[in-house]
């Protein structure tokens, strides 16, 4: 039985998407139900697989050959190990909750069926990424995830901002994908296969196999993760992606798609076990390994995003930058070799971040699509459940014990402390900032005085929306006690983990393990909270812009990355395009084609001069011709 489950898990959402697109487009309710059913069944099957002891050990692969040409053989295979089983659970659980939530949230939208078709298609693509057993298959699903996010971000495509955001997301992802594919080809060229197990084995046997290109290959593959998980410098698409419907933001940009990058890095971590080496010409970089670069990019992303978040006023943008920041943490963890802590944080983050987005969605839904936090306020009593879950998720995000985020963040910071103290300090500071901006959001949007004109009509959201939020709140709170850490460590760690202690001991475990880290972590949270309370506790408008002036403006303008990129593109691509167009028009078509045409016509005109119509001219020419002929013949 278990052999067929993965195929069903993967293809049920695709089936729903195809059915909706081809047949049930007109029938909204049916489309929605098909889509929800597919993902719920997939979730249930994932649970069954997860709990099946034979599934994860030793891990099994089901594959059929998809393409076989010369030295390139690509299978379509499903790889089941602890990593993929865990991700399956996370993806289907969060996707399921969001599908149900969307049923109410998108109720009045006229493209209701199309929305669910796209959502199902996205689920299919994401599950494909999780289950892939080779690079090329993963790349294919990677692209499909990119395309579904393009369709979903630009879902309200008659709005220019949404259409532009979708395009930006796709193009930025494509840049990363180009690096990704280049890395895949490099690996194939040097090692002969694209299959994960095969490559891992080859590299384990001989870490020097990749020779001078090992670091480059690792970094190229990382390009894909950089784009998908929105790391600096390919992060610019994520905040704009908030133009999509809020459930889409919850699913794609909090819990699944962006996490795909981190997942992929964990999946192909064996690559970074190759002996680091740079090719000729770049040998001055010797000593820097790919993992170091990854760790620092992660850290910088985490910090920069947190700083920008402090000055954002759109509730979704704050959450978007928060996601960027947390993703930075995860990438940093992978760079420090901590796959377990990275995936742990990914899991906890999936739940509390999507919960945050759903809560934000509830607020937006009730306030008639208002998204500016300075026009909200005093929602706490009007929407108690929303507020409760939102607060819970915030506390989890900040890392307050005993919620899930506390455990995962502590694991991350602990890893950083052991490996790279500057990054640890960076992470600590970012944790303080995280608490600061999240509580800024809570104080301004949920507490304080009401600033929205619609405040009287606001009441709690309907059950269809509340239930998924409550469903997500449970793991957000309790995931720390479910031994996810140990589950992962069995696959990733070479050291067998210690047995799981009872829950009351688990809360204090970090303090016993690395007390300094745990205390500093709590200290950072406290600093952030009190700072936020002090500045925003009773604020009715943002006091920071005056105090920080230019810096605040830079933060609000996202450190001008978009402008910089626009400039770079204008100077390179657009300039080249103009040149190519000019060359095409004037040189190739002008000189080349019309030149040929003109030359022919010139000679024609020249020869025409002979035809004067005058008898005497012809006679002279005739005579001259005869003389020449005779001369030629007679002097032979």
């Amino acid at each position: 039985m278990s052999q067929t489950f993965p195929w069903f898990i993967l293809f049920l959402p695709l089936g729903a998407a195809v059915l909706i697109t081809l047949f049930t487009h007109e029938r909204r309710e049916l489309s929605a139900r098909l889509s929800i059913a597919a993902v719920v069944v997939s979730f249930w099957l994932s649970v069954l697989l997860f709990t099946d002891p034979r599934a994860a050990d030793p891990g099994l692969t089901l594959s059929v050959n998809w393409l076989n040409v010369g030295g390139l053989s690509v299978d379509f295979g499903l790889l089941l190990d602890r990593l993929s089983l865990l991700m399956l659970l996370v993806v289907t659980a969060v996707a399921g909750a969001i599908h149900i939530y969307s049923y109410e949230y998108m109720r009045s939208d006229r493209s209701f069926s199309a929305y669910f078709a796209a959502l199902s298609f996205f689920t299919f693509a994401m599950l494909g990424v999780v289950l892939s057993d080779n690079f090329l298959q993963m790349f294919m699903f990677w692209e499909l995830v990119g395309v579904s996010s393009y369709l979903l971000i630009g879902f309200w495509h008659d709005r220019p901002a949404a259409a532009d955001a979708g395009k930006k997301a796709f193009l930025t992802n494509r840049v990363g994908d180009a690096g990704f594919l280049a890395g895949i080809i490099l690996l194939w060229a040097m090692l002969g296969s694209v299959n994960f197990d095969f490559l891992a084995q080859k590299l384990a046997e001989d870490p020097r196999r990749l020779g001078a290109f090992s670091t480059v290959a690792g970094l190229l593959i990382f390009c894909g993760a950089m784009a998908k998980s929105a790391q600096v410098p390919l992060h610019v698409w994520l905040p704009d992606a908030m133009e999509g419907p809020t459930p889409v933001s919850a699913l794609i940009h909090a819990a699944t798609m962006v996490a795909a990058g981190v997942f992929m890095l964990c999946r192909v971590f064996f690559l970074f076990g190759a002996t680091p080496q740079w090719p000729a010409g770049l040998t001055w970089l010797d000593g820097i390994s790919a993992l170091e670069v990854i760790a620092w990019i992660g850290g910088i992303t985490a910090l920069m995003a947190a700083v920008i978040a402090i000055q954002q006023n759109d509730i979704k943008r704050i959450l978007a930058y928060s996601t960027l920041s947390q993703l930075g943490y995860m990438v940093m963890a992978v760079g420090l070799g901590g796959r377990t802590s990275a995936m742990y944080h990914l899991t906890t983050h999936a739940f509390f971040k999507s919960l945050l987005f759903l809560g934000a969605g509830a607020v937006i839904y009730r306030l008639h699509h208002e998204q500016d936090i300075w026009r909200m306020g005093a929602l706490r009593h009007k929407m108690p459940l929303t507020f409760g879950t939102f607060l819970l998720a915030t506390l989890a995000l900040c890392g307050v014990p005993p919620l899930s985020g506390y455990f995962s963040k502590d694991a991350l910071l602990g890893r950083a402390y052991e490996q790279n103290v500057p990054l640890f300090l960076l992470g600590l500071f970012t944790a303080a900032l995280t608490t600061f901006y999240m509580f800024r959001l809570i104080f301004v949007a949920f507490l304080g005085r009401p600033r929205s004109p619609h405040i009287e009509e606001v009441r709690e959201v309907p059950g269809v929306m509340v239930l998924p939020m409550l469903f997500l709140a449970v793991p957000a709170a309790l995931l720390g006690f479910w031994a996810v850490n140990h589950y992962l460590a069995e696959q990733f760690s070479s050291i067998p983990p210690e047995p799981v202690p009872p829950w009351y001991e688990q809360v204090f475990a970090p303090f016993q393990h690395l007390p300094l880290v745990a205390f500093l972590g709590l200290g950072a949270i406290a600093c952030g909270f009190f700072a936020a309370w002090g500045i925003y506790g009773k604020a009715s408008k943002d006091p920071l812009p005056e105090k920080l002036g230019g810096l605040a403006r830079a933060m609000r303008n996202r450190f001008y990355f978009d402008e910089l990129y626009a400039r770079i593109i204008a100077v390179t691509q657009e300039l080249l395009a103009d040149f190519a167009d000019w060359f095409d028009r004037w040189i190739l078509a002008g000189v080349g084609v019309r030149g040929a045409h003109g030359t022919t016509e010139f000679f024609a005109r020249l020869l025409r001069l002979v035809q004067t119509g005058n008898l005497r001219t012809y006679a002279i020419l005739f005579g001259a011709g005869v003389v020449i002929l005779l001369y030629a013949l007679l002097t032979r």
Binding site: N65, W66, L67, N68, V69, G70, G71, L72, L136, F139, M140, F141, E143, L144, V147, G154, H157, D158, R159, P160, A163, D164, G166, K167, F170, L171, R174, V175, D177, A178, L181, A182, I185, W188, A189, Q573, E574, L576, A577, D578, F579, A580, D581, F583, D584, L588, A589, G592, V593
Partner: protein, 495 residues
């Protein structure tokens, strides 16, 4: 009688039959070509299905002698490479016949030319005799000129017609000279390809002869396939052409040159090939990057699509230039995939033109709301064009890039960039400006293709793309042995 003869013969017979149909019976005038191309398509699908993937050599062969003194005979057969092309050609021909409903005057002549084109193209792909190879190609090419000249559109129609006629005739001339030179120099006294290949395998042409004749064929075929820098006829020509002609020419007829290179030039003149294909690899960059960049600057949708079509040809050339099994298989897949894609895209823009009367991107906008089916089909076509997995183009491009990595890595990287990023930029910009955004008032009355008959050609073409994209072995299983056979003569020491 081989199935191939039926496939080639039906459209030609229908063309002759059409001449007898009175002009006034408009329904019959439309029905005859539709029926003929439909039957051809069904036969082609049957041919494809019955083709044995692993077997070497040609299948469905038929030979009827004609001029014995020069050994010219009607010799047809398909191998893995051409069977995909025949299938694609037949499907596109049927789709083109469906889409031709927009022609409202002198339909009889138009359909006559369309059927001639169909017969010619399929004959060219199936031909195993150099004379008939050329003959069928010209049979397909000349109607193109007439169709653009008479039923074309746009104010630069006449210029485009003259340009395409003269340019492509020049290309054909080079090809003809090359073929005749090949016949004369080989000393085999035969136009038959099978015999010639066998003969030249044992008594190869002298390197000097090869180095002289190969460029004739290369540049002749290259012009026909819009190799950079001989590509400027393509965008202009397609913009002026009526939709069916653009579909057939860009989709199918263009592939003739690539096919000719693979079938004739490469196996028979390996030394010349190795020498000149380095140049070709370099010119591919022109196609892929340069034309991609030019496409970004286009303000007319058909010009954009035309330039993108030229860019895709670069991939096929790159695959051929790699002289490796993976690369050539990739080239074969690109040929089939692009055939479907070009036909689909031109068919859709033709529909847009027919509805709105313009293809200026600045005039269009927000059309996805109003035309859900056509709009979605266009989205899929554009995404396929930038190499989205799930469509056949991705398979072809990936194979080409993988295949050319070992021989020309820098060009492979540039091709990758061109395929993934540059193509995405102009495709998505086009989508953004044509389909997304608010709907202008003047297009509020447009109608979508609701009739299933109107949808049929697009559905067929999309299916082709998706089927070969999801199950590439259907195609590569057939192409790879053929490619291996070609490489055996072309590059014997390479694996």
């Amino acid at each position: 009688m081989s199935t191939l003869t039926y496939i080639i013969g039906w459209p030609l017979a229908a063309a002759v039959a059409l001449l007898w149909v009175p002009r006034q019976m408009r329904v019959l005038v439309r029905l005859v070509p539709l029926l003929a191309t439909f039957i051809t398509m069904v036969l082609a699908i049957k041919l494809f299905w019955q083709f044995e993937p692993g077997a070497a050599g040609y299948q469905f062969v038929q030979k009827i002698g004609w001029v014995t003194s020069l050994d010219i005979s009607y010799h047809v057969g398909v191998d893995g490479l051409s069977v995909g092309l025949v299938l694609m050609g037949a499907v596109v021909a049927f789709a083109a016949a469906c889409v031709a409903w927009e022609i409202k005057e002198r339909e009889k002549e138009f359909y006559f030319l369309l059927l001639l084109m169909t017969g010619g193209i399929l004959g060219a792909f199936a031909s195993l005799d150099m004379f008939f190879f050329y003959f069928f190609h010209e049979l397909a090419l000349v109607p193109t000129f007439i169709m653009i000249g008479v039923w074309g559109r746009g104010e630069r129609k006449n210029y485009a017609t003259f340009q395409i006629t003269l340019y492509l005739t020049l290309g054909s001339l080079l090809v003809l000279i090359g073929l005749i030179a090949l016949y004369l120099r080989s000393g085999a006294n035969t136009f038959d390809l099978v015999r010639l290949t066998a003969y030249l395998g044992k008594h190869p042409l002298s390197p000097d002869a090869q180095l002289a004749v190969f460029p004739l064929l290369l540049f002749g075929f290259g012009i026909l396939v819009s190799l950079w820098p001989f590509h400027t006829w393509a965008p202009l020509g397609y913009r002026a052409a009526p939709t069916s002609t653009a579909m057939l020419h860009a989709g199918v007829l263009k592939k003739f040159g690539l096919y000719g290179l693979l079938r004739i030039a490469l196996p028979l003149m390996p030394v010349g090939a190795r020498h000149w294909l380095g140049v070709v690899a370099f010119l591919c960059v022109g196609n892929i990057l340069y034309c991609g960049l030019v496409a970004m600057r286009q303000k007319d949708l058909n010009l954009l699509v035309g330039n993108s079509s030229v860019a895709h040809m670069g991939f096929a050339f790159l695959g051929i230039a790699s002289l490796g099994l993976i690369g050539i298989t990739g080239a074969g897949v690109v040929m089939v995939a692009h055939g479907f894609l070009a036909a689909l895209t031109f068919g859709l823009t033709g529909y847009l033109y027919q509805q709105t009367g313009t293809l200026e991107i600045s005039e269009l906008g927000g059309l996805l709301r109003r035309l859900p089916f056509i709009g979605s089909a266009l989205v899929m076509a554009m995404l396929a064009g930038c190499g989205l997995p799930g469509f056949a183009n991705f398979v072809g491009e990936v194979l080409v890039v993988f295949g050319s990595w070992k021989s020309v890595p820098i060009i492979a990287v540039l091709a990758l960039w061109g395929a993934l990023v540059i193509a995405a930029v102009y495709m998505l910009r086009a989508l953004r400006n044509v389909l997304h955004g608010p709907l202008p008032e003047k297009w509020a009355a447009l109608s979508d293709a609701t009739n299933p008959w109107r949808k049929l050609p697009f559905v067929l073409l999309l299916s082709g793309l998706i089927i070969f994209g999801c199950f590439p072995r259907l195609l590569t299983g057939k192409i790879t042995p053929a490619a291996a056979a070609i490489l055996q003569t072309a590059a014997p020491q390479q694996p």
